[in-house]
């Protein structure tokens, strides 16, 4: 439509007036869609023509050697890094490349960092309270009141991540594994559509790993979950679909068995372990 037509059309909704916070549209397929994404830092191509689609409710594992671009990919999805070329869509309606970090977070993409980052000076309860989906502008936050339904929701998540007994303790005293769970809990409080989880079991004990695997698989279905992980045993225990990244692009995709039998994959990655 030309500018003139737009101006004369009484029903026309201009792009800048259209509501941005419209719900994520997944009727036409995937919840996350990356096409031909490339980004380079000082000449180094961290991501190289990456194509990736994640379906709604899927649990996807992404593996790859160091420097394969896994973390950079998460940075691009969450708006921390802008790619040089390519497009990133959330559902079929939201172009993530035009949005900033808080907007993307509000839209429903939660991210767990590699290193557990919880607010150590606040209680476990307050950590979840801050993460809760709510109006996050200044004055609503200043005047926010803890309603019973919020408390129930927080208690529900506390139950799920197994930190109920520690709700009033400072998050700083939690063990490494507990911090990881708390952080996953914080993501759940945001009611995300898509969870990005970066190396959830690094530094965990066997029992903690099992507990984490249980937690993540229980989330899939309600949310889409993308897990970036190094630990092959862990990936094998949770993954249905695995994507192998190498030098910034997808090397192979499929079930764990398919992928681990792929000669290319064995050469660049699994070969080290075999």
């Amino acid at each position: 439509m030309s500018i003139f037509e737009q101006l004369t059309d009484r029903e026309h909704v201009f792009e800048f007036l259209a509501p941005v916070q419209s719900p994520v549209d997944v009727r036409h397929g995937p919840i996350l869609y990356l096409e031909d994404v490339s980004v380079s830092f000082d000449g180094f191509r961290a991501i190289n023509n990456l194509n990736l689609t994640i379906d709604d409710g899927e649990l996807r594992c992404i593996i790859g050697p160091n420097g394969a671009g896994k973390t950079t990919m998460m940075d691009i999805i969450t708006g921390k890094t802008r790619p040089d070329t390519g497009s990133v869509w959330f559902g079929s309606r939201h172009n993530l490349l035009t949005m900033n970090e808080p907007d993307i977070a509000t839209l429903g993409i939660g991210r767990k960092f590699q290193k557990p980052t919880v607010f150590e000076a606040l209680t476990v309860f307050a950590n979840l309270e801050l993460a809760m989906a709510a109006d996050k502008r200044i004055f609503p936050t200043l005047t926010a009141i803890m309603k019973a339904e919020y408390r129930d929701r927080i208690d529900e998540v506390l139950e799920l991540i197994g930190l109920k007994d520690l709700r009033d303790r400072l998050a700083g005293i939690l063990s490494h594994g507990q911090k990881q769970w708390l952080e996953i809990g914080m993501l759940l409080m945001q009611k995300p559509r898509l969870l990005l989880v970066d190396e959830p079991v690094a530094g965990m004990t066997e029992q903690e790993m099992d507990r984490t695997a249980e937690l993540l698989t229980s989330l899939a279905g309600k949310q889409s979950v993308v897990v970036v992980e190094h630990d092959m045993g862990f990936v094998r225990s949770i993954a249905r679909q695995v994507t192998v990244l190498h030098q910034g692009s997808v090397l192979a995709e499929g079930t764990m068995d398919q992928v681990s039998n792929d000669p290319e994959v064995i050469k660049v990655y699994l070969g080290e372990d075999a």
Binding site: G110, T117, F119, K136, T143
Partner: protein, 373 residues
């Protein structure tokens, strides 16, 4: 309501109780004791205590941004001085034709500089309400513009501290210039009266002291209200893990900007109450050293407690009064030494000592309990 929440809190009740008791006792001793009694509080002491309370309010403002937001401002003296100048301009206009040159409109220093008419930015300051709004607006606006630029570019940590230091230094140089129209080197002084009350009478001085005490109480409750609200917890979150807070969907730069502006306004109020009590405002209040001193008060008293800042400000300034009376040259060494000692042996300041004692008896209330209370 976020403003009434602190009133139900034990620490705030104790703080307000002690503050009001001090106000009442000092006023009573000043008014009803005979002048030759050992318990008599002279008018000089009342003004001195009023000055300490101004510093205490300033320290609370700094603690709000440093303790709870992690922004070490080394330029809060600038906001204090701006509030002071706004009040000073009002007091200058109140002099009227009682100045040395007897000009009904122009302050003395303008007549001295052969200025023919009042600069545009001096208009309106003959009205108290306008001046009092400017006390909040001038520091608030500076903080808004400065903070907007700094936080938007994600300048934090030591870089921000250096820029705030540069800010106050630049303002000091600017205000030193006669052409600025703020009295240059000499600043603004020779005040006669405020709101119609003669500044040299004991009653006015006592009134200013009580007004400062009330301002401190209100400022404390506002700060406490902010830090016990969800926004306060978001501030702490910004302080400790900025990126995480951003990914939770909070606009970190707006949180920082809001708290920074509130803090600057409180500093401005402290400055405005300071000026009529000391009787002068000049560019030395902008000096970087003063801003650093404020940070030392807060560090001594204990960061992120608010009442610690009050204790620190009063104790250090009392020590300063005593010390500069006995050995004026040694004061800076004493201050530096004190700072080193506290950093090494009392990393949480004086408030840390109090907390350690209290922690044995009670546990910190959780946000959930606070909210239901």
């Amino acid at each position: 309501m976020w403003l009434t929440r602190p009133l139900q809190e034990r620490s705030t009740q104790v703080f307000l109780g002690v503050l009001f008791a001090a106000l009442v006792v000092v006023s009573a001793l000043h008014l009803f004791m005979p002048e030759d009694s050992a318990l008599y509080v002279s008018s000089y002491t009342v003004t001195l205590l009023g000055k300490y309370l101004c510093y205490a309010l300033l320290a609370v403002a700094v603690d709000l941004v440093w303790g709870y937001l992690g922004i070490l401002s080394l330029g809060h003296g600038a906001f204090f001085a701006l509030g002071g100048y706004a009040m000073g301009m009002y007091l200058m206009r109140q002099i009227g034709d009682r100045g040395t040159y007897g000009d009904p409109i122009l302050p003395d220093f303008m007549v001295f500089l052969n200025w023919q008419e009042l600069p545009w930015y001096w208009h309106g300051f003959d009205m108290a309400w306008f001046a009092f709004i400017m006390v909040l607006l001038a520091p608030g606006l500076l903080a808004l513009v400065f903070g907007f630029l700094a936080f938007r570019s994600r300048v934090t940590g030591v870089y921000l501290s250096i820029i705030t230091q540069a800010l106050t230094f630049a303002l000091m140089l600017a205000f030193f210039r006669n052409e600025m129209g703020f009295g240059g080197n000499n600043g603004l002084t020779d005040f006669k009266d405020i709101l119609g009350f003669d500044l040299r009478t004991d009653a006015t001085r006592l009134g200013l002291f009580i007004a400062t005490g009330i301002a401190l109480a209100v400022g404390y409750v506002i700060c406490r209200g902010i830090v016990t609200s969800k926004l306060g917890r978001v501030s702490v979150a910004c302080r400790d893990a900025e990126a995480r807070t951003r990914f939770l969907g909070y606009r970190v730069e707006r949180v920082q900007l809001f708290v920074f502006v509130v803090s600057a306004m409180l500093a401005g109020v402290a400055g405005a109450l300071y000026v009529p009590q000391v009787g002068i405002i000049n560019p030395s209040e902008f000096s970087p050293l003063f801003s650093i001193e404020i940070v030392v008060w807060v560090a001594l008293g204990g960061r992120a407690t608010l009442y610690g800042a009050v204790i620190g400000a009063i104790l250090v300034n009392y020590a300063k009064t005593v010390f500069t009376g006995i050995m004026p040259d040694a004061w800076l060494f004493a201050l530096g030494g004190l700072f080193v000692l506290v950093t090494v042996f009392l990393p949480k300041g004086i408030a840390g000592l109090l907390q350690k004692r209290r922690k044995a008896e009670t546990t910190e209330p959780t946000p959930a309990q606070e909210a239901t209370a």
